[in-house]
């Protein structure tokens, strides 16, 4: 039944963190008429507006930000409506922050209850799976290859090629593993997919599993995301009830099940081989490659490993009426990228747009400058293994290629803004400290090198001009880069080198 008045109150970690859950509790107690309904939608990803509450009446939907507003005085629902109207409600889809994005992967977030499978189906959901089942595995892989999609987990490897490798293995058992460990500070796009559009991930996994011939899919979810866990468990159950998972999916003869596994607070378990060790029930020690996981992965079987956003992108590529994605961008930077703008920034949140947006556009047009009002001093791009750029480098484009030239990477798309109170030597030291904490311990340059790195930077903080320490730090970075087994040790020098190069005199006297 469609109620006359709908009140939308997001149920999503960031919205709840600033009061959405509290507002839900207050308002649900006031409702005494049966023509009013509360819908727990997801966030629109404009986190600076949260908790953003909307009312839909006579087909018109408008909302208001209820940040830091005490509602405990309200005694009737009419009081709430009066209060709401006084606050000049607006349509979030008409503001630049949303309007100027190119929301393809995140096209559904905000609109409806993420667990309402009818809403999912009404917005093209499960049409791609049907199409994939019709054209068959190889044609599905070809479509993904042609789309130009690269992995969004950090390494930007072409997704279709990885799928082909798994497909080509002759094995009666194959696995799919979805990497939902999202450990990079400053990132939340995986979380947003899982909390705000979980069926897109489930459908993407189902298509990928069908294409490569896997019958079991694991989701390795970090333990820091309890709400995502709740959403995923419910979404999996609903998908099973609707025969979108389980045996003989949609009468195709294809069986596929998803098993959710929870991590236990280890960053390195986001590295794909450490993740497999963890799923198998061991310490998250990185494995040496080869063999590639695609050839011998989980439980020694061919395994397709992809990031949450990568998998959630797949359905759209299989929608035969839709090829917008692959028309955007060039080279490796094809399609849209969900940038996650955070830190000291006024308008923080998820910004899905083309790769070749400049930092300037991102932090000024979307972000509207720092929250503190102080000048921007540094911007970290691509998580703890990414680089820091200075405020004079805002014209940098965020393509995979442009960042490679600066010896950085877009990683998982985290963009963190710091104002001029930041101490760059501290940031450099943190990179090493984080490596000390999170190193899996398998190889010396990472396990011990990071400890020495903290010591050297401690000394440099007391005397920037010590040329011996400056050289030593450089040598240490070189050793870690050249001899670490995985990118944890191998890329920890990235932020440090960028600070030396782009912030002269802040860590080392030039």
């Amino acid at each position: 039944m469609n109620k006359a008045i709908k009140i939308f109150i997001p149920n999503e970690t960031s919205a709840n963190s600033v009061g959405a859950q509290y507002i839900y509790e207050v308002i649900s107690k006031l409702i005494n008429k049966n023509n009013i309904e509360i819908i727990r939608n997801s966030s629109w990803g404009a986190f600076w507006l949260e908790p953003y509450i909307e009312i839909e009446k006579e087909g018109i939907r408008r909302g208001v930000s209820y940040r830091d507003i005490d509602l405990s005085d309200l005694t009737t629902i009419e009081d709430f409506f009066i209060d709401f109207n006084k606050r000049e409600p607006f349509d979030i889809q008409s503001i630049d922050f949303i309007k100027k994005q190119k929301r393809l992967v995140f096209s559904r977030i905000g609109h409806h209850d993420p667990l309402d499978i009818e809403c999912y189906k009404n917005t093209k959901g499960y049409k791609p799976l049907l199409n994939s089942l019709k054209i068959g595995p190889q044609e599905t892989i070809n479509t993904i290859k042609e789309s130009g999609l690269t992995g969004r987990g950090g390494a930007a490897f072409p997704t279709g090629i990885k799928m082909q490798t798994v497909f080509d293995q002759d094995s009666s058992i194959k696995y799919l593993a979805c990497n939902a460990d999202e450990g990079d500070g400053g990132t939340f796009s995986d979380r947003l997919v899982m909390e705000s559009d979980p069926f897109s991930l489930i459908e993407g996994m189902t298509i990928a599993a069908y294409a490569v011939g896997a019958s079991i899919g694991y989701i390795y979810l970090r333990s820091e995301y309890p709400l995502a866990k709740t959403f995923l468990l419910q979404a999996i159950e609903i998908a099973v009830e609707n025969n979108f998972l389980g045996k003989n999916i949609l009468n195709s003869g294809f069986d596929f099940n998803i098993d959710l596994r929870i991590g236990a607070g280890s960053y390195v378990c986001g590295e794909e081989t450490a993740m497999m060790e963890s799923i198998e029930g061991r310490r998250g020690l990185v494995r040496s490659k080869p063999p590639l996981p695609a050839i011998s992965g989980l439980f020694k079987k061919p395994t397709l490993i992809n990031n949450v956003v990568t998998l959630a992108t797949i359905p759209m590529l299989l929608d035969s009426d839709e090829d917008e994605f692959s028309k955007i961008g060039s080279n490796k930077s094809v399609g849209t990228m969900p940038f996650q703008l955070s830190g000291n920034i006024k308008h923080s949140g998820l910004i899905e747009t083309r790769f070749d947006i400049s930092l300037e556009e991102l932090v000024r047009d979307f972000g509207s400058g720092t929250k503190s009002g102080n000048p921007i001093h540094a911007i970290q791009i691509g998580g703890p293994l990414g680089i820091y750029l200075s405020s004079s480098m805002l014209n940098t484009s965020l393509t995979i290629e442009a960042l490679q030239e600066l010896k950085g990477s877009i990683g998982h798309g985290g963009i963190i803004v710091f104002d001029n109170t930041v101490d760059m030597a501290e940031q450099a030291k943190f990179a090493m400290e984080f490596c000390v904490k999170e190193s899996c311990g398998k190889c010396t340059p990472c396990r011990i090198g990071s400890v020495r790195g903290v010591e050297i930077i401690n000394r440099l903080q007391k005397n920037k001009a010590n040329a011996d320490d400056a050289n030593l730090l450089n040598d240490l970075c070189e050793t870690m880069e050249a001899t670490s087994l995985c990118a944890m040790g191998g890329m920890t020098p990235n932020p440090i080198r960028s600070i030396i190069e782009f912030f002269p005199n802040e860590l080392i006297q030039k």
Binding site: F47, G185, S266, G343, Q380, P384, F418, E438
Partner: protein
């Protein structure tokens, strides 16, 4: 060794699944608060590991613990986005308010303070997690308010 029926029940969903140890460790800890020496010897038998291997796994992961901690865990994010929002200052305010250091538990076993690296709430930092709930734009005052609201701690 005769396994306690309680533990048997906790472990039973994980015995026959592939890689059952991690979910089993989570389940033991969720039910019993920590993983005891007795639990370890029982886990070793059930999963066909040596006791040393079980301890190896437990100690690798930040979430698992060999000793009881507070009933309520306050985790303060210290990762980069929260650093830009003064999470270090918040950490020092909170540790002095509760008179606890990181990884310390209050004497009444009510509260443990821990650090964490990213809660995925980076857009609204500094972020703090109290049990399963995330607090955005966190302040000591907000944390105290949350503890009161949830009847975790009433005195200031």
């Amino acid at each position: 060794m005769i396994m306690s029926t309680n533990l048997k029940k906790i472990l039973s969903p994980f015995v026959d699944i592939k890689g059952g140890l991690m979910p089993a460790l989570h389940a033991v800890q969720d039910h019993l608060g920590f993983i005891s020496k007795d639990n370890i010897s029982e886990l070793a038998i059930v999963f066909n590991y040596s006791q040393a291997e079980i301890i190896d796994v437990i100690t690798f992961y930040d979430d698992f613990r060999l000793e009881p901690i507070g009933k309520n865990i306050i985790k303060l994010c210290q990762a980069e986005a929260c650093q830009s929002q003064n999470c270090k200052q918040l950490l020092s305010d909170v540790t002095s308010h509760f008179n606890l250091n990181l990884d310390e538990t209050s004497s009444d076993l009510n509260i443990t303070l821990k650090e964490v690296f990213c809660l995925g709430n980076c857009a609204l930092g500094p972020s703090v997690m109290i049990n399963d709930e995330v607090i955005g734009e966190a302040t000591t005052k907000k944390i105290i308010g949350h503890l009161k609201k949830h009847k975790i701690q009433n005195n200031e």
